[in-house]
């Protein structure tokens, strides 16, 4: 139950990060999701990524919509402010929050129902606006909380546990994100922590709209072999284009990968993304070829995972809006309220 606090005591030798926090300091309350839910693995990956990046937990804001996925922010980062908003509307709330304070890290957590159906419009527009954030969709192809209806990301022909077959065409959020101008686009699988944790870290380090679609099987309603969002199906059809290592500007750089299969991308903050390329012809800095590759593999029945696209020197919404460096929520009367003379000028001009 979420209102049951986890024991505060932990092993005295639990490793700490550069800020002196243990992994436990990044946890939230006990998950109420079904045992084995892919979403819990994603929460664990978020916790690990934040711990490893030495992020002060209170400098992260976590926002979500409604649904199983949107419940998860309660289960990680208990020292961060959270906002469980309305169904499909997390992107607008996150956009507003980001406008108010550009200095925090924004983590948006959503699901396929939340982002691909009711919130498809907001999903699209926050990516268009280049809101600096990490937007994670925990994608299981079903509505879990309302007990197993298909979502808009379910593949055509996909079969639910109770035998219903999906006949509608699927929405591929990754393809949409690429088309809409997201500057960091990745796909991963909740069962592949080795791939997911570095992707989350890289997305946090990225300035701009970073989107990660994480296929996360629903053990209750959509983990049967006929579902294309099941553990077995994803494991059998996963086509990883690269493996990612994130090297922060402050880290010592160790070169231990064979040249020729490694691509290095330097992000705006100096962090280095080292991609161990599995598909040799894959170029993660080319939006058009990323889209083409994605669609070709999809047609062949493969689920492409990895960092699909990154624009390392992207701009964000604040750049476009040309806002001051100081967070808007830190400005007071002195900066915001014009003087009496300005009002006198207004009055004078309207006579």
């Amino acid at each position: 139950m979420t209102y049951i606090a986890k024991p505060r005591l932990h092993h005295p030798k639990l490793p700490t990060n550069a800020l002196g926090f243990t992994r436990r300091d990044y946890e939230g309350s006990v998950s109420t999701l079904c045992a084995g839910c892919g979403h819990d693995s994603i929460s664990a990956a978020i916790i690990q990524a934040c711990f490893e990046l030495d992020l002060p937990p209170h400098r992260i804001a976590k926002l979500s919509g409604i649904g199983c996925s949107s419940k998860t922010p309660t289960y990680f980062l208990g020292n961060s402010h959270g906002f469980n908003s309305v169904h499909g509307r997390m992107p607008s709330v996150l956009t507003g929050a980001n406008l108010a304070n550009r200095d925090l890290i924004y983590l948006g957590v959503s699901g396929d129902g939340d982002s691909a159906s009711i919130g498809l419009g907001q999903f699209a527009h926050c990516l268009r606006r280049a809101v600096n954030m990490v937007y994670i969709v925990e994608n299981n192809g079903v509505y879990g909380l309302t007990k197993g209806q298909f979502s808009a990301t379910a593949d055509k022909g996909s079969k639910a546990r109770r035998g219903a077959v999906n006949t509608d065409s699927p929405i591929d959020l990754v393809a949409l994100a690429l088309q809409l101008g997201a500057s960091f686009v990745a796909r991963s699988f909740s069962g592949d922590k080795a791939q997911l944790v570095p992707l989350i870290k890289a997305a946090i380090e990225h300035k701009g709209a970073a989107f990660i679609d994480v296929i996360s099987p629903c053990v209750a309603f959509n983990n049967n072999p006929e579902s294309t969002k099941s553990f077995d199906y994803v494991r059998a059809h996963n086509e990883a284009v690269n493996r990612l290592d994130v090297i922060l500007g402050r880290d010592e750089i160790i070169a231990d990968y064979a040249p020729g299969t490694v691509e290095t991308v330097v992000q705006h903050d100096g962090s280095i993304l080292r991609l161990r390329k599995l598909a040799v012809d894959y170029d993660p800095c080319d939006r058009i070829s990323a889209l083409t590759y994605l669609q070709q593999q999809h047609a062949a029945g493969e689920i492409v995972t990895g960092l699909l696209f990154v624009e390392p020197e992207a701009s964000d919404m604040h750049d476009f809006l040309d806002t001051v460096e100081t967070p808007l929520n830190a400005l007071g009367e002195v900066e915001l309220c014009p003087d009496a003379e300005a009002l006198a000028r207004y009055n004078g001009a309207h006579r």
Partner: protein
């Protein structure tokens, strides 16, 4: 040549007190000439107000511009027209029918019209405007545009408008575009000189310089409210275009670009998002407010319909939000370019479940400026959505109002914010804990303290410490506290304004918003007829106790409003537990701003008196 009323009926004679209405076709460039007309009257020191009645269309449909000139300062609509400037053949019959007996009809006499097109009891003044234009100009666009300035010239002669005032205004209007000044002045003189030589000038309606305008200003509610948001410290605005509110957001942008840039870097101390829809607009506002910025949206009824779910979240999760509702004709798409006060109940109880919201009712642009800033304070203080209930009449028309005022040194009331220092000092933090007994809890902004003060904001039920809870007692306690907070709001919102009649009376009238302008004139007229009414102008919901005391102190109270269903009356009955029989509805809802004559007639009819001598006996 001028034709004079055939019946010889006494032509209306009036100095500085009459109504001129322009019937035009939209997109024909008449707005600028009509604006010059109204402003030139103000420059002569004569109070005037103007109202645009326009279609939901860009070009080709009928549009009207009505100017009320009143030396005694009555700036609401009076009703009736003394001089009709009939420039639209399509609406000719209705326009001619609207003229007062003995009034004047001015028209383009280039093409002769059959006598059946005129009225016997109206003075007809024709000017061959098209012929003059065709003679003077070869370019079709020029012929169209200058026709407006030419009729302005003719009117200047007919009404004796100060020539210099108009010349100066033309100079101001085209400042920076000097090549336009000369041809406009030329067109103006063309019309004026033609009229002075061909017509009997002035007519019975005449303007005479006085000094009754003082330092008042002429501005729209949307522009003033936007400036109020700048002074009030709003940094985030999110909106979706919708008539009649769009000009508020656009004005905010214009004011901010002038007043809100860092003096050195020129970077912006504001952020404006034109959202994909109203759902996103209110979402952005709520997200920004959650994170400690002052934020607002401007919309109209259909937009509020879309925002309902978020408004409920903001009420229940206790997040500030300022929402300007520039009301228009409803329901559905309704009459998008006409005015109404028909969103009162809908905003008071917006969203599903038990909700109540703070509403402010500004009466004019000046109060729109003041209430915009007040709303930002109230939203922060009460941690709840606050609606500023304007309407198209206030928002889009230019009103003559006292200069906007701001008290130097006024501080923003950011409400109860728990700071890092307070948390560090060990002050207990419960997000929904009523520590002060006013129903208002403390909140923390995200990012305040490394280990204390973080909480989870949610629309689901929770306990005092913001922990998810489906326990009945937790839910009930929270809902009761919200009700208590609403009681607190009564003490904080703008108080109603009471006016006592010259003579003691058992009758009262309640009104609000844009009705105020016509109401003052109506009360004066009623008084002349021996009807004395105490009045109360409601300025906010929840209702201050003064309002209930006012109702209790009168046998019958007229509630004057611009909607079909007597919405304020319903709200008074339900919230004040008032006997419905004591509140008599006076309702005007055809989409045009209410007139003084309408109010006088409706109240007089209600009192069942035409002649008012036996008033007291005639009353129930």
């Amino acid at each position: 040549m001028a034709t004079i009323s055939k019946t010889g009926l006494a032509a209306i004679k009036s100095v500085n007190d009459f109504v001129v209405k322009f019937a035009n076709v939209n997109g024909s460039g008449s707005a600028s000439a009509n604006g010059l007309f109204a402003k030139s009257i103000l420059r002569m020191g004569i109070p005037a107000s103007s109202r645009n009645i326009f279609p939901s269309n860009i070009q080709g449909l009928p549009t009207w511009y009505e100017v009320r000139i009143s030396e005694s300062g009555h700036l609401g609509r009076r009703g009736g027209v003394d001089l009709m400037v009939a420039m639209n053949p399509e609406t000719w019959d209705d326009d001619v029918a609207e003229i007062e007996p003995g009034g004047y009809l001015f028209y383009d006499s280039t093409k002769p019209l059959p006598p059946s097109k005129f009225r016997d009891d109206v003075n007809v003044i024709g000017a061959p405007l098209t012929a003059i234009c065709n003679r003077e100009y070869t370019d079709a666009r020029q012929r169209q545009l200058f026709k407006n300035i030419i009729y302005l010239g003719v009117l200047a002669a007919l009404l004796d408008i100060d020539r210099v005032a108009i010349e100066k205004l033309i100079g101001e209007q085209f400042r920076g575009k000097d090549t336009l000044i000369k041809p406009n002045l030329h067109a103006f003189h063309l019309g004026r000189d033609w009229a002075l030589s061909q017509l009997e000038c002035p007519i019975g309606l005449r303007l005479q310089r006085v000094d009754k305008v003082g330092d008042r200003i002429f501005t729209t509610g949307n522009d003033a409210a936007a400036l109020g948001c700048v002074y009030g410290g709003a940094t985030v605005a999110a909106w979706y275009p919708i008539t009649p509110s769009s000009s508020l957001a656009e004005a905010f942008s214009a004011h901010c670009h002038r007043l809100r840039r860092d003096p050195e870097t020129k970077k912006r101390r504001f952020a404006i998002i034109q959202a994909e829809d109203e759902l996103a607009a209110i979402g952005v506002v709520i997200g920004a407010a959650w994170n400690g910025a002052r934020a607002f949206t401007a919309t109209s009824g259909p937009g509020i319909s879309l925002m309902q779910e978020f408004i409920g979240l903001a009420y229940f999760a206790e997040l500030p939000a300022v929402i300007f509702d520039i009301q228009r004709g409803s329901p559905s798409t309704g009459m998008p370019t006409r005015t109404q006060q028909a969103d009162i109940l809908f905003c008071a109880y917006a969203s599903h479940g038990d909700t109540k919201h703070v509403l402010l009712f500004p009466q004019d642009p000046r109060e729109s400026f003041a209430f915009a800033a007040d709303a930002l304070d109230l939203a922060d203080r009460l941690q709840t959505p606050v609606f500023v209930m304007m309407d198209l009449d206030i928002g889009m028309n230019e009103w003559l109002v006292e200069p906007l005022a701001w008290s130097e040194g006024r501080r923003y009331d950011r409400g109860k914010i728990m700071t890092a220092e307070m948390l560090e000092a060990g002050v207990e933090f419960g997000r929904y804990l009523d520590v002060d007994g006013d129903g208002i809890p403390y909140r923390t902004y995200p990012g305040t303290h490394p280990t204390r003060g973080a909480f989870f904001t949610r629309g689901t039920s929770k306990n005092r410490y913001a922990k998810y809870s489906e326990e009945g007692p937790d839910y009930v306690e929270n809902m009761q506290r919200l009700l208590h907070k609403f009681e607190t709001a009564k003490r904080l919102v703008p108080r109603p304004i009471r006016r006592t009649a010259r003579e003691p009376t058992r009758y009262g009238a309640i009104y609000f918003g844009s009705t105020a302008a016509a109401m003052t004139e109506a009360l004066e007229a009623l008084e002349e007829r021996g009807v004395h009414l105490d009045t109360m102008r409601v300025r906010a919901f929840p209702f201050h106790d003064d309002i209930l005391d006012f109702v209790a102190g009168h046998d019958r109270v007229f509630v004057v409003e611009q909607n079909r269903d007597a919405q304020l009356r319903t709200l008074l009955i339900s919230e004040g537990d008032i006997d419905p029989a004591r509140l008599v509805p006076i309702l005007h809802y055809d989409g045009t701003p209410i007139t003084a004559r309408f109010i006088v007639k409706a109240i007089a009819d209600m009192l069942s008196v035409v002649t008012l001598a036996p008033l007291k006996k005639a009353l129930p």
